[in-house]
């Protein structure tokens, strides 16, 4: 159904059309889901004819219910940043389970270098280091956080590419190690009272700004650069990539490093938004990030998937979550329903693939 070729028939070979992009299907699904919630808002007896996304009550003097739109995207922005990296890893036929705990570990480490010396005129009660690490410019904790992420990613990538450990196992190990690091750092107590400039990184709609800017950058990188092409090539046929002269091992390490740096950055933004860093942060983030990529049409066997798909996948997840709250569905049901939707997305994708072949 997404195929525009016509077999080996007599067509001339000067046609260079692109085929119907997979992303359109996800956009379609997103619209359908929105319509369903709109209908539910009108139909369900207890909903009092509320609109899901439109401002029908004239509260804001706008067409859309901007508050809800903002919440939807803000909710998924931070996990979305992780999903941008996870997408690249999955395209190489890998997986990264370590991102959730890495968010927590990075949040704690980075914020330790972003603390203010004085809180309401008194010394910072949560101080991790002495005065030398207080009131540092915001670039310091950011760079330290990103470097920590790069280190974790390099270890992940090295185990996967050079020691041939299955990505699932290598990153599962790192999952536990990172959670351990997060607990060990300041003995599990929260790190708090960051500088104003650090807080700004996560204030208001900043997480959305980071998410969409990084998405745009990595969309361009994956689609238009050699790095992107080789990422797809490795996931598609690793042997062919090697025979074509691509340094597969080095490239994989780079992909895992970029993914972990994105997760680390998500940790920085999350702690800045919350103004505190805790060892339990980022629980299930790795799974939601993978779910976004999967809903976005990525293939877990590698070679297929896109940043646009993952962004749309994040939006689908956000809309569903917000929609469930809108129709007053309890949180426990929300989790169950979301699990079902993720599985349904994969089944649908496999069905689509079979029909195409």
């Amino acid at each position: 159904m997404t195929d525009t070729s016509h077999g080996t028939g007599g067509l001339a070979f000067d046609t260079t059309k692109r085929s119907w992009p997979n992303e359109m299907n996800i956009l379609l699904a997103l619209i359908i889901i929105v319509v369903i919630f709109e209908i539910l808002g009108q139909v369900l007896p207890y909903m009092d004819n509320q609109s899901f996304l439109f401002d029908t009550r004239g509260r804001f003097d706008t067409i859309f219910n901007e508050a809800r739109l903002q919440i939807i995207i803000l909710q998924v922005a931070i996990i979305g940043i992780i999903a941008l990296g996870v997408t690249q890893v999955i395209i190489t036929a890998g997986i990264d389970l370590s991102s959730g705990p890495l968010v927590a570990a990075t949040a704690m480490i980075a914020m330790s270098f972003a603390q203010t010396e004085l809180v309401n005129g008194n010394p910072n009660p949560k101080a991790i280091f002495g005065a030398w690490a207080m009131d540092l410019p915001v670039i310091v904790p950011v760079i330290i956080g990103l470097m920590f992420g790069a280190m974790i990613g390099a270890i992940n990538g090295t185990f996967v590419a050079y020691f041939r450990i299955p990505p699932f196992i290598a990153t599962l190990g790192m999952f536990l190690i990172c959670r351990g690091i997060a607990l060990w750092w300041s003995a599990g107590r929260p790190v708090s009272f960051p500088t104003e400039s650090y807080k700004f990184l996560g204030s208001g709609m900043m997480p959305v700004f980071w998410f969409l800017s990084l998405a745009a950058i990595f969309h361009i990188i994956l689609r238009y650069t050699v790095y992107g092409k080789h990422t797809y090539a490795i996931g598609s046929n690793e042997e062919a990539a090697r025979m074509s002269g691509i340094n597969v091992r080095k490239h994989k390490v780079m992909v895992y490093m970029i993914a972990s740096m994105l997760a680390a950055f998500a940790g920085i933004v999350l702690s800045a938004k919350a103004s505190t860093a805790q060892a339990g942060m980022g629980e299930f983030y790795e799974l939601f990030a993978i779910a976004m990529a999967v809903i976005g049409g990525i293939s877990l066997t590698g070679g297929r998937g896109s940043i646009i798909g993952t962004v749309l996948g994040a939006m689908v997840l956000g809309v569903i979550r917000s929609g469930f709250t809108f129709v007053k569905l309890d949180g426990s049901y929300q989790l169950m329903a979301m699990g079902g939707i993720i599985i349904a997305a994969v089944i649908l994708d496999q069905y689509r693939q079979r029909n195409r072949a």
């Binding site: 195929d3 080996t8 050699v226 797809y232 598609s236 046929n237």
Partner: protein
């Protein structure tokens, strides 16, 4: 050494432990020539090719490409020197389209100062792909389709079209039609004829007697790791039966009598 000699090997030998897979192969081919390599399974055909293309390191012997002595440490180096190999197993990435596959590992790029994030010049690659396909008379309905959506014949054509796109100095095909149907085989054979007309030298490994008699100028027969016959089928009157005789060991050319 004459510039007209495309490839020359002298005493090319490969031992795998105690197994003498290839023993003292002396081979020479001229510009524009199409040479077939025949022989039973395990006779040393593929071993011979693997030593030339740098997939394996030879035990002994010398190789010259266009008069220049070469010793490739890997297939990539051989490719950069102009030897294009179409492997039995297709080295194509299924999720990429035709230009992507043709240029995999040697993309046309711009803004190279960006290092690994340098940009791909899609337009130039598409243009070169269309030219390469035209040159080989390969017909592919839409070059922006992924390889996954293509038939076996089309895939093989894409693999072969690489050689034309990169103006290779020597093309080696390892049983290019072994897995193809009748029509697809004919398509590939047509491409080989096009290469012949264009004067592109080719080494063809094949088990298909009709195909070989149809297409090439000369047949080299391998038996038990040694060359046992060098048959100029265009000028001498040699039948398929004669060739089979050499392959099975019923016949041996006098100058190769030590191979018997």
């Amino acid at each position: 050494m004459s510039e007209e000699i495309v490839l020359k090997t002298e005493d090319l030998t490969k031992h795998y432990g105690g197994v003498h897979a290839l023993e003292g192969a002396n081979f020479e081919m001229k510009k524009g020539e199409h040479v077939a390599i025949m022989g039973d399974n395990g006779a040393g055909k593929s071993t011979f090719v693997r030593q030339i293309t740098g997939v394996e390191q030879r035990t002994r012997g010398k190789v010259w490409l266009y008069g220049e002595e070469v010793s490739f440490i890997g297939p990539l180096e051989a490719r950069e020197a102009g030897i294009e190999t179409v492997f039995q197993t297709l080295a194509l990435a299924d999720d990429l389209d035709v230009p992507d596959n043709l240029f995999l590992g040697r993309e046309i790029t711009k803004w190279d100062w960006l290092g690994p994030f340098r940009f791909l010049d899609y337009k130039a690659m598409r243009q070169a792909t269309l030219e390469g396909l035209e040159k080989t008379a390969v017909k592919i309905p839409n070059i922006r389709n992924t390889i996954r959506n293509m038939s076996g014949g089309q895939r093989q054509c894409v693999a072969i079209a690489r050689t034309a796109t990169f103006h290779s100095r020597l093309t080696i095909m390892d049983e290019p039609t072994a897995a193809l149907g009748v029509q697809e085989t004919a398509q590939v054979e047509n491409i080989i004829r096009t290469l012949k007309e264009a004067g592109e030298p080719l080494i063809l490994i094949s088990h298909n007697m009709r195909q070989v008699m149809d297409l090439v100028d000369r047949i080299i027969v391998f038996r038990r790791g040694r060359i046992c016959a060098n048959l100029d089928i265009k000028s001498e009157d040699i039948s398929g039966e004669d060739v089979v005789g050499y392959i099975t060991g019923a016949k041996t050319q006098p100058e190769y009598s030590d191979a018997a």
